[in-house]
Amino acid sequence: MTDHRSLHNLEIGFTGILGADGKPIGELPEFASNHKQLIALYRAMVLTRRLDEQAVALQRTGRLGTYASSLGQEAVGVGVAAAMNNNDVLLPSFREQGAQLVRGVTMVEILRYWGGDERGSCFEGPKEDFPAAIPVGSQFPHATGVALAMKLRNEARAAVVVGGDGSTSKGDFYEALNLAGVWQLPVVFVISNNQWAISVSRKKQTAAKTLAQKALAVGIAGEQVDGNDVIAVRFVVERALERARAGQGPSLIEALTYRLSDHTTADDATRYRPDEEVSARWKKEPVSRLRTYLTDLGAWTGKDEETLLNESTVQVEEAVTAYLATPLPQAGEMFDHLFESLPSDLENQRKQVEELSREKTDA
């Protein structure tokens, strides 16, 4: 007997609210009736884009290290962070400047980090948020631990972890998803599917039709969202967070977006993808989409736009100035946070590095 038992919950939902042309194609969530909230999302996306632009320029002129721009993906980071409570915890990948800004990481901190300074990960704002994860996918298991801590303390909080389409091929992703499922941990996994992992396309990454369906492997909720629609992103993440905080378990959200920039400033994307693909995707980018909607609503004017652009430029420039003025760390600092207190075995090494750096300065 070959009996095809069909299983429950084997559907993958897709949420889109604004179309690429900025016209609503779905029911608007409640928060969208408050234009101030929409404008806040818009401002955050514009600021993120401005920061990215400026960071790339700094890199090109030798004043910043390799940088991963989020151009075209701003709605994912901003939407995710906007959905979070302050006391939730964010565990970002290395391309979530938008989310970090909304969470309260400062632009100066972000620039310091990419400028090659560990102090950039010592956030003044969201003290429990994790720093950027460079080893792809390694952040997912951390999120399960953070979520378990919240659950053990009976707190109505949740962890949100973000990774790319490429990161879903790592065992770390799967093991974390499975742990979250089996222990019903308050964590939301967000995949920012920008269609590329450096030069490897989404299709070459996995034969699964969607990344959201990977949730089925561990028995948790999975859904897709239009990742260039910040309203939709905020909406589905908020919903998933509410479930998580209420003890209803983890979710996987695949946000469909596109990386309009090179992978990083060290990359040349024209080597592996056609210009036409990129220009077609420019038509669906998130910032102008929301601007159109707000303009159509009468909630946003050319004047507002001009003011915002000026303000953003000033804000970013101030941050850049502060970043460039950051006093260099002292050589000895490389030992100061290795352990809570420096083991005596390492004192000589600390002394040596300090002396040598003094000599250099004196010379």
């Binding site: 990960s121 298991p141 053990l152 946070h337 809570e340």
Partner: protein
């Protein structure tokens, strides 16, 4: 004061730590109802419940990363990896995260976790069950590698590891889980994590070792004593950060040194100790340093395993060679 073996001492320390600090969470494969495959966590789930004593899925990388997250949130995870041969999927999380979370965030987030694993050969275990790769961990900055070799040190060092605000890999020499019983007072007192232990004082030669090889090394010292040779025996205990002071002052006194470990010779931690002597203790040395170690091959399955393990004979031969120099 209970008379316990090394394994029971581990269990006592875990119990005490969970009693004292409710941030201590014990997790790993089969640590709950089964009490661990060696029974190190026996009784914990009955006493502290399934929330704090957690059977995990078979997922070494995942549970290590999960422990990093828990630790960053101010819990004190004590993770068991069932055998050292299965620790390797965890290395990525240990080196790329656990050992550097504090440094990466300049002290904002920390990682007070302990990863426990039984290690070493000599118990006729199946393939992949007899690894001694402590040197791989001892090369990781920001990590402590701790190895007890007696019930008392197991108790005191494990408590210290759990109290320690930074990550510790705690390796238990399973071959001697049951060889020695001691009266261990359950007083919750930690031993220092920055000191080697001088197990026996002597003046003619220094024998340095850790883990299960302590047994053969002490036996070697006994035999040497019969020949009228006074051997000092040092249990390194905390491999990193290394207490070079204790080692140097011993070798300054004796002028001779044999290092014993079970791990493969090349790249083993004995090399680090010998190197330090060659650098900063050379002038005290009256004879070459000798290493008595496992061979540079995969530790054999049981039929040949005993040929691999450093033996009392090999220790004596090395010591006598070193003693011949004048």
């Amino acid at each position: 004061m209970p008379e316990v073996d090394l394994l029971q001492a581990v269990n006592m320390a875990l119990t005490k730590a969970m009693e004292t600090d409710d941030r201590v969470i014990v997790l790993g494969e089969d640590v709950g109802v089964d009490g661990g495959v060696f029974r190190a966590t026996n009784g914990l789930i009955e006493r502290f419940g399934a929330e704090r004593v957690r059977d995990t899925p078979l997922s070494e990388a995942g549970i290590t990363g999960l422990s990093v997250g828990l630790a960053a949130q101010d819990f004190r995870p004590v993770l068991e990896i069932q055998f050292m041969g299965f620790i390797y999927p965890a290395i990525d999380q240990i080196i790329n995260h656990a050992s550097r979370l504090r440094n990466r965030t300049r002290g904002r987030l920390t990682c007070p976790m302990v990863l426990r694993a039984p290690f070493g050969g000599g118990i006729h275990a199946p393939e992949h069950h007899s690894e001694s790769t402590e040197a791989m961990f001892a090369h990781i900055p920001g990590l402590r590698v701790v190895i007890p070799s007696s019930p008392k040190r197991a108790y005191g060092l494990l408590l210290a590891a759990i109290e320690n605000p930074d990550p510790v890999v705690f390796l238990e020499p399973k071959r001697i889980y049951h060889v020695q019983k001691e009266n261990v007072e359950d007083d919750g007192k930690a031993l220092p994590l920055d000191r080697c232990f001088v197990l026996r004082e002597g003046s003619d030669i220094t024998l340095i070792t850790w883990g299960a090889m302590i047994v053969e090394t002490l036996a070697g010292a006994d035999q040497l004593a019969e020949d009228g040779v006074s051997a000092e025996v040092i249990d390194v205990a905390t491999l990193t950060p290394l207490d070079t002071d204790t080692i140097f002052s011993s070798v300054e006194k004796t002028g001779r040194c044999v290092i014993v470990h079970e791990a493969a010779r090349t790249g083993g931690f004995g090399g680090e100790i010998a190197a330090r002597l060659a650098e900063d203790g050379l002038l005290s040395l009256l004879a070459p340093v000798k290493r008595v170690t496992g061979y540079d091959t995969v530790i054999p399955m049981p039929r040949l395993e005993h040929h691999y393990m450093p033996s009392l004979d090999r220790i004596l031969t090395a010591a006598r060679e070193v003693l011949e120099y004048s």
